[in-house]
Point group: C2
Chain length 215, copies 2
Amino acid sequence: MKLYHFPRAPHARKVNIFLQEKGIEVPRVEVNLVEGENLKEAYLARSNRGVVPLLELDDGTCIDESLAICRYFENLHPEPALFGTEPQEKALIDSWERHMEFDGYLPGQDAFRNSVERFANYAVAGVQQEIRAIPDLAQRGRVRIDIFFARLDERLAEVPFIAGEKFSMADITGLVSVDMAKRSKKFLPEHLVNAQRWYKAMCARESVISTYIES
Amino acid sequence: MKLYHFPRAPHARKVNIFLQEKGIEVPRVEVNLVEGENLKEAYLARSNRGVVPLLELDDGTCIDESLAICRYFENLHPEPALFGTEPQEKALIDSWERHMEFDGYLPGQDAFRNSVERFANYAVAGVQQEIRAIPDLAQRGRVRIDIFFARLDERLAEVPFIAGEKFSMADITGLVSVDMAKRSKKFLPEHLVNAQRWYKAMCARESVISTYIES
């Protein structure tokens, strides 16, 4: 198998953090998004979205969804469990992972893709057609990031990690979402002490340090 | 346990289709979204997003993400497997389920929530703050629905069901996504014969018929 990735791409980083936390080594191929390697025919044959990360299995099957890639490795190597072990624990991790993604990552992506010059005509990830940026959507993203930060703090006032008592996939997606917001100069406010405590603990993990992306 | 739902809400319908396909009965409580029952204090104490569906477990734990609810039931009652059984099959179902959701459902939601009068000031689901509709985003949603339909047809030219040879969770999310687009008068084009063949087969399933929503 081969993992196609680009270290600076947030979803690729998510998988890289996950694999390091699990202690799994996978052969990697770097796809330079800045140089458009993901839009060449050979790559689009693997995924018509032209996205990274992408996991190519030995039989040629390609999986181009970061969370599906992580869960696949979890199924192959259950320990340490980052998606939980019991049904209720699994459900909470699933649910909180999705809160991070839908309420945190997507607003951060809206804010970023709809405001930077290089995506002005390609504002939607995974689509090659020209789609123009929407400044109002960037602004909506910024408003939603504030709501996300506040809810993150509320949650982390109750529990040490996002899904509860243990570090999980939800924390990885949460970290990547907070860092996505930084790209639009939206930083986790200092007064949100619960979210700050969690964020600092995340940033001290070896998997997070070694995959650090300059904002 | 109790499942809070509203039959006309697409994610609630998704869970209802899933449960019927699995043959699982769950006590249900209807939450009338049109009358704002989801925004009352008692309900917001279960989920600060005020969304349905929501599964309340016997210990009071609440799960407000439809896919996490489905997966929870799959873990409790593995057969018939709608999330797959082997790691590779599971990964394909996960990945395709996400294609349906991110590339199909979200554009449909953008098109709908940003164009109908009743959401003009509450354009983001799961958020109680006023957020105004963005007409350009409704238009972007419509463009993306066309891309989604074309890709759906491309995929279904290769395989009978979205994730491959068997009916799965990906088909349920796909069906709900196609029906979401209908709310914005975007209908699966007749010339996309592969997607049409699949859609007609989906619409003939008892679980889909019994949860039909008038557009």
